[in-house]
């Protein structure tokens, strides 16, 4: 092995190389963890069945139901036929092949990207795949985590490997200290607005710098989750004490001598001094505001203190055109202050911001306040465990007292495969990751925001930051002291 300084991504790649590809053919990489859900797996299992192949490593595979699951009446049969068929197919396949599954009603059911870390199955230095683009979430632990297609799902089930071409590396340096009310979500929205939705294409991003180190694991997951929205194949954060602390003690974390060996290995992973990235981007955390999108792709975002941009201000003709059609779809006028935009619905949830810390942050803002009359607020925990924990902390009561709907876990309104959808023309402030046309229901309009902006928006009825709220009497519960990432 040469002594060339390597980046984190290169080390993880090196440590999973089964066969080095020759003459431009891909490398064969070993996969440490394969997460499975109901949407992209049925044909993969069917392919195995047809070829008479077993799942090679049941002990590195786990399934959960998330995209189609209802968030109300979860004890009743699922009404939508396509949803029910997909979920039933997953249950049947899991039983037939012997795959561990967490079904609706089980304490570990939930969004696949929340469940993996929660069980301690996501750890530093791993390769993690799932038939879902937001698999990048798991990169927060210093794993190489990638979304794959259905035929690749079958490939991994059968071989526990994947042929992959090496990618380029990009450092995203975020230095400084976030101001109050500015969170991980705002960092990543600012990154995407800066490099564009295609800016990360062909790259694995590594988020670095003091502002990233200061983030909790939840915040790092929020950032890595949306790497895909910058077009990147994956996003990563080097493991450190924060990472170890998060992993330690979880059900599948290493124990005893294994723990020591694991930590010793994890410590070798961070990018070496002198390692060269193919590209670098710098973001100043000190000057970031809460960020919010105005358009129909995640790169169309501005500071919440700004206004809807004028399409004429874009020099690139494609961007100008995209802005024009986005404003038309979003029914927005250039020059409107973002904080004047009224919303119908506030959605707190998804694999971007549906973890316990996100719910705490939102609850912290709304506690003791009243919801804007004509706003519906939907709070959907990322997993059944998150829901249980939130209830144990009394967060559910805060949401209910405020007038929000407290739901069961799943993807929910992030993509509206279940009944949680916006009506045509309705506008949401959403903590999810995609503001595409029709993403949250046909004709729906989405503004991507952080949990604290979502909460403040529910109070005022227009896009708002916590700083816009009237000061309250000091809080008396423990919630106020919890971090807001």
């Amino acid at each position: 092995m040469s002594n060339k300084p390597l980046t984190l991504a290169e080390k993880v790649w090196r440590d999973h190389l089964v066969v080095k590809g020759e003459d431009g053919s891909p490398d064969l990489l070993y996969i440490d963890l394969h997460l499975v859900h109901e949407v992209t797996s049925p044909q993969a299992f069917d392919g195995l069945r047809q070829a008479g192949r077993p799942v090679r490593r049941l002990d590195l595979t786990i399934a959960t139901e998330d995209h189609n699951t209802p968030t109300l009446d979860i004890d009743k049969p699922i009404a939508d036929v396509t949803s029910r068929t997909q979920i039933e197919a997953l249950r049947k396949n899991a039983a037939e092949f012997g795959v561990r599954i967490h079904s609706l009603g089980d304490a570990n059911q939930g969004i696949v990207h929340v469940v993996g870390p929660q069980l301690g199955l996501t750890q530093p230095g791993m390769t993690v795949v799932c038939g879902d683009s937001h698999t990048s979430t798991h990169g927060a632990f210093g794993s190489l985590a990638m979304g794959i297609g259905t035929s690749e799902v079958e490939h991994v089930l059968a071989t526990q490997t994947l042929p992959l071409k090496p990618f380029k590396t990009m450092a995203i340096n975020v230095e400084g200290t976030l101001r109050p009310g500015v969170t991980a979500k705002d960092i990543i929205l600012a990154v995407i607005a800066k490099i564009g939705t295609g800016g990360g294409q062909g790259y694995v991003l590594e988020y670095r710098g003091s502002a990233i180190r200061a983030l909790s694991m939840e915040g790092r997951m929020t950032i890595c989750n949306m790497s895909i929205e910058a077009g990147a194949r994956a996003g990563m954060v080097a493991p450190d004490e924060t990472t170890y602390k998060f992993v330690q003690g979880r059900p599948h974390a290493p124990e005893g001598a294994d723990w020591d060996a694991a930590v010793a290995y994890w410590k070798t992973l961070p990018t070496d001094e002198g390692a060269v990235f193919d590209a670098e981007v710098n973001i100043d955390a000190n000057t970031l505001d809460p960020f919010v999108t105005w358009g129909t792709n995640p790169g169309q975002g501005v500071s919440l203190l700004d206004s809807v941009p004028d399409p004429a201000s874009f020099t690139d003709p494609n961007e100008r055109q995209a802005a024009e059609s986005a404003l038309k779809y979003m029914d927005l006028k250039a020059g409107t202050p973002m904080r004047d935009i009224k919303v119908n619905t506030v959605f707190v949830g998804s694999c971007t911001n549906g973890r316990i810390e996100d719910l705490r942050a939102a609850a912290n803002i709304i506690q003791g306040r009243t919801k804007a009359k004509d706003v519906t607020m939907l709070v959907v925990p990322g997993s059944a465990k998150v829901r249980l924990q939130a209830e144990a902390e009394g967060l559910d009561q805060i949401f209910k007292d405020f007038g929000a709907e407290w739901r069961f876990a799943g993807c929910s309104m992030c993509l509206g495969m279940n009944p949680d959808q916006l009506a045509p023309g309705e506008r949401a402030a959403s903590t999810s990751n995609r503001n595409f046309e029709g993403r949250q229901g046909k004709g729906s309009r989405t503004h991507l925001v952080s949990p604290v902006v979502a909460a403040a928006t529910a109070v005022r009825g227009t896009l708002s930051s916590p700083a816009d709220l009237e000061p309250l009497e000091p809080l008396t519960t423990g919630i106020a002291t919890l971090g807001n990432n």
Binding site: Y30, L60, T161, P163, P251, H252, A253, A262, Y265
Partner: protein
């Protein structure tokens, strides 16, 4: 995947050009959750027309399709190949294929061979002279024959090798079985496993 060397089956002359994947299998069938059982979906829009070729008795058992130019264009759906395969087709010939369709077909064991426009016409005429006649596809010699007519077809060496060996993507990877097993033997014990399940 079965090895493909020499195969003989009922030949079907499809005198249409620009048959896109939406015509091969309409989008409504994409909601299914299986990778097989798409035989009823093949050319679904045309199957209602009595004079469509596959509705005619000698051609119903078709296994070798001779189509016009630009076959398999349009959306990248793998279902197009599944539908042809499930119906019973083992090989498709055209003077021009969409690249994605060709890539997908090679992976699923459906041979797609390129023949000239002139040979397409000759094959059509030979088949129509004797409806129900078999075509013999020889992948070793890269020829397709109907009666006394034999024409050459083109296929890239890599796909040909895969078909001859009967290797799909997974089969190819599993040729590295020893390397995979060696890698697994060296994996550190601290790496997490989903089984036995903990935390439930």
């Amino acid at each position: 995947m079965e090895k493909f060397e020499v195969f003989t089956g009922t030949a079907v002359p499809l005198r249409r050009s620009n048959v896109d994947t939406d015509q091969i299998i309409p989008a409504v069938y994409l909601k299914r959750i299986t990778k097989t059982g798409y035989d009823d979906a093949l050319f679904a829009a045309w199957r209602g027309e009595p004079d469509f070729i596959l509705n005619q008795e000698p051609y119903k058992a078709g296994q070798v399709l001779i189509a016009g130019p630009d076959f398999g264009t349009g959306s990248s759906r793998e279902h197009a190949v599944w539908a042809l395969r499930d119906y019973g087709f083992k090989a498709v010939f055209s003077s021009k294929f969409a690249d994605i369709f060709r890539g997908n077909s090679g992976k699923q064991g459906l041979l797609s061979g390129v023949i000239t426009d002139a040979d397409t016409e000759k094959l059509w005429q030979a088949i129509e002279a004797q409806p129900g006649i078999g075509a013999t596809v020889d992948l070793v010699a890269k020829t397709v024959s109907v009666g006394s007519l034999t024409v050459n077809f083109e296929i890239d060496d890599y796909t040909r090798w895969r078909l001859l060996e009967g290797l799909d993507d997974i089969g190819l990877t599993l040729q590295n079985e020893q390397a995979i097993a060696d890698f697994e033997a060296k994996r550190p014990s601290f790496k997490p496993q989903t089984l036995p399940a903990k935390g439930v």
